[in-house]
């Protein structure tokens, strides 16, 4: 028997992610023999207790899956239910929903860039330490985040678990004046987002190139949020009804979150800002494409650590898009249209800040839910995160244990994992046998 080297790396709890879980890596003679995420965020059984609830309760209930991206849950659920009832809404409702989503993208992306991810690039523990080094960036970043929250608050009622979204539209459509009052803060946010983009584009990025399958919505009219077909760079092009024929969720023993994989190959894939950037770059306004190109950031980008640049670019886009929508806003005559309640099924996906969020429902003749299925973005990225670490760890073997662990954590944060929805993680063990 040859001599074997052993090294153990352990992180009791991975911080700066939205949730709780663990990562375990076993290395034997520098070969990975086991690598697994343990997501131990407790299961909360939304798909089970939605059964028997009325369709009009669904956006309020599913919002509670995630306090960071409640708008995404509301958007996917109302579109899926409108699909079930055969209800079509006009473009002014679509624009107002898009405006609400812009607010969530801004606040969620700003939170992740500034508070959760940027500290990694400087070896810092938190936004508070970041503030000691870059006080101006932090102060401005907080204003950027605040502008996103203010937008969600005006359109949705409050920033966490908005109350204004319903099947068929809104409870109350905001007046033009209310939206116009947001313009100064959004203009300021747009300028800040541009500076944040410049800041993150110059970060020192570890070198790692991976031949990803990127998956996102794509719509010829616009950068994707609430509509489009689901496409990938490896041949997928489907509508929401086909989602479960192409993807499947598998349960693994070590995690409370289901893994979502391609049904045919069993392969993992990536959703989120980097996927949208790679697949939908040409749907960005020409001015933004130019700004990105000036910073050398054009597709294809296969370095997962650069997702922070994609996130910053999307933040800038969301500020600009919000201003565009407010400028051309036409208040709908009626805040919502009444659905024609009938037996039906509906599926939909939208682009949550972290990637596609799939909802599917069967409804009975009284509008009560008979079946609910929800596939959150982090559940889809979970297998991909494991695969990224399989690629990354062999390049880190020369590093001291602490640095190796730090880069593994950073690689996980590339995905902005929101573990309260897919569930929570992280404890990181790296064991060298």
């Amino acid at each position: 028997m040859k001599n074997s080297s052993k090294r153990v790396i352990e992180v009791k709890a991975l911080a700066r992610v939205e949730g709780e879980g663990a990562l375990h890596v076993t290395l034997k003679d520098d070969e990975i023999v086991a690598l697994r995420f343990q997501i131990f965020e407790p299961p909360r059984f939304f798909e089970a207790f939605l059964q028997g609830r009325s369709y009009n309760e669904v956006p309020d209930i599913t919002a509670r899956i995630c306090g960071i991206c409640p708008v995404a849950y509301q958007m996917s659920s109302v579109h899926a239910l409108e699909q079930a009832f055969g209800l079509k809404l006009g473009e002014n409702y679509a624009q107002l929903r898009r405006l609400l989503y812009c607010g969530e993208w801004i606040e969620s992306h700003a939170l992740h860039i500034l508070m959760l991810h940027a500290p990694d690039f400087f070896g810092l523990s938190s936004v508070l330490e970041l503030n000691q080094r870059f006080p101006q960036v932090v102060e401005q970043g907080l204003r950027l985040k605040k502008a996103g929250n203010a937008l969600v608050t005006v359109v949705g009622g409050r920033e966490v678990h908005p109350i204004n979204v319903r099947v068929g539209g809104f409870y109350r459509a905001p007046e033009r004046k209310e939206l116009r009052e947001l313009i100064p803060s959004l203009k300021e946010a747009r300028n800040i987002a541009r500076e944040v983009l410049d800041w993150v584009a110059d970060f020192p990025f570890p070198e790692l190139e991976i031949d990803y399958e990127f998956v996102s919505l794509k719509d010829p009219r616009e950068y994707p949020m609430n509509r489009g077909r689901l496409v990938s760079n490896k041949g997928i092009d489907i509508c929401a009804d086909e989602f479960t024929t192409v993807f499947e969720e598998r349960q693994v023993e070590h995690s409370n979150a289901l893994h979502c994989l391609r049904r045919d190959t069993g392969g993992s894939y990536q959703v989120g800002p980097l996927a949208r950037f790679n697949l939908c770059f040409e749907q960005l306004p020409a001015s933004l494409q130019k700004i990105a190109a000036e910073r050398g950031f054009t597709p294809p980008c296969n370095n997962p650590f650069k997702s922070i640049i994609a996130r910053a670019l999307e933040t800038l886009y969301a500020c600009q898009e919000a201003l565009r929508i407010i400028d051309s806003y036409q208040r709908p005559d009626r805040p919502h249209l009444e659905p024609d309640i009938k037996v039906g099924s509906g599926s939909w996906f939208t682009e949550a800040p972290r990637g596609i969020l799939f909802h599917s429902y069967d409804v009975d003749e009284n509008g009560l839910i008979k079946r609910a299925e929800i596939v959150p973005p982090t559940s889809q990225n979970q297998a991909r995160m494991e695969d990224d670490l399989r690629r990354l760890i062999p390049t880190l073997l020369h590093l001291p244990t602490e640095e190796m662990r730090a880069q593994c954590e950073q690689a996980i944060r590339n995905y902005d994992p929101c573990i309260s929805c897919a569930t929570h993680f992280l404890r990181l063990d790296i064991e060298r046998l």
Binding site: K12, A13, L14, A15, R16, V17, E18, G19, E20, E41, P42, P43, R44, F45, F46, A48, F49, Q51, S54, E57, I61, R64, G67, I68, P70, E107, L111, P119, S125, S126, V127, L128, E129, N131, E139, L142, R143, K145, K146, N149, G157, R158, E159, V160, H161, I163, N164, F170, Y171, R172, R250, Q251, E253, N256, L258, P335, C418, S420, C421, H424
Partner: protein, 255 residues
């Protein structure tokens, strides 16, 4: 010496602890006043206990959480639960009205891999709680008031009257009286700022029951508005379903 703050998560959506990070204007000031000693979502720097102020988000739904809350209590001088999950079980407490084994098989192909408790419970069923902050989610102004009161050694000024008071103060037209919209305002604790009536919808009870609510009278009113028993049961059974007043009323109308 700055007082040490810890923020803990149990079964929840993260939204209440996020409310702390959503205090964009006050966060840095707050961090000057309080040492953020344990707040996993915000910082990877972890300091050992004991902690002067612990904010606890989420409800107890696993054997691990049942053990963890005891340890956290023993490390905390002042413990405040934040949000509907921590104070009354939250949305996941809906399993308390069903058989969790049925729920498991709906969601998981291999229920045997999952460790979970039959019943979900609020923190106060396990340990002594020094103050409960309501809401799904909590209101960040109220959260700052709790922090402020703690730093100044006074009791937080958090009203426990009904939402109707808040509605009147805002000068909003009553949605029930004016257009017959069912509203839980008369039995729900204030705190959100009467958001739903301001958006032309009825309150759906995010902040849980007010002090001594007359839920039976409200249920009768809902019935007069044409709601079925099933529907009445459901409106009391959402984010604060395990709060005694709402729980009892929902059971009374269950068919």
């Amino acid at each position: 010496m700055k007082k040490k703050l810890a923020v803990w998560k149990f079964s929840s959506c993260d939204g209440c602890q996020l409310s702390l990070l959503d205090c964009e204007d006050e966060l840095l000031t707050l961090a000057d006043q309080l040492e953020i000693a344990y707040f996993l979502e915000a910082s990877s720097r972890i300091q050992p206990g004991p902690y002067d102020l612990s904010l606890v988000e989420g409800s107890v739904s696993t054997p691990h959480e049942r053990r963890a809350i005891q340890e956290i209590r023993s490390q905390s001088k002042f413990l405040v639960t934040i949000g509907a999950c921590a104070t009354s079980g939250g949305i996941q407490a809906l399993r308390n009205f069903a058989d969790v084994r049925d729920f498991l098989s709906v969601v998981y192909a291999r229920p045997d891999y999952i460790e979970t408790l039959d019943k979900v419970s609020p923190i106060s069923q396990h340990v002594k709680v020094d103050f409960e902050l309501r809401g799904c989610p909590i209101n960040k102004r109220q959260l700052l008031e709790v922090a402020n009161a703690f730093l100044n050694k006074r009791r937080p000024n958090i009203p426990n009257h009904s939402l109707c008071m808040e509605c009147k103060r805002r000068g909003l037209v009553c949605v029930t009286v004016a257009h017959g919209t069912p509203c839980l305002g008369p039995v729900t604790q204030a705190g959100c700022g009467a958001l739903c009536p301001a958006y032309n919808r009825g309150c759906y009870g995010c902040f849980g029951p007010m002090e001594t609510p007359n839920t039976a009278a409200l249920a009768q009113r809902l019935k007069d508005h044409g709601m079925s028993s099933q529907e009445i049961s459901r409106v009391f059974r959402t984010f604060n379903a395990e709060a005694p007043a709402f729980k009892e009323e929902s059971l009374r109308h269950e068919e």
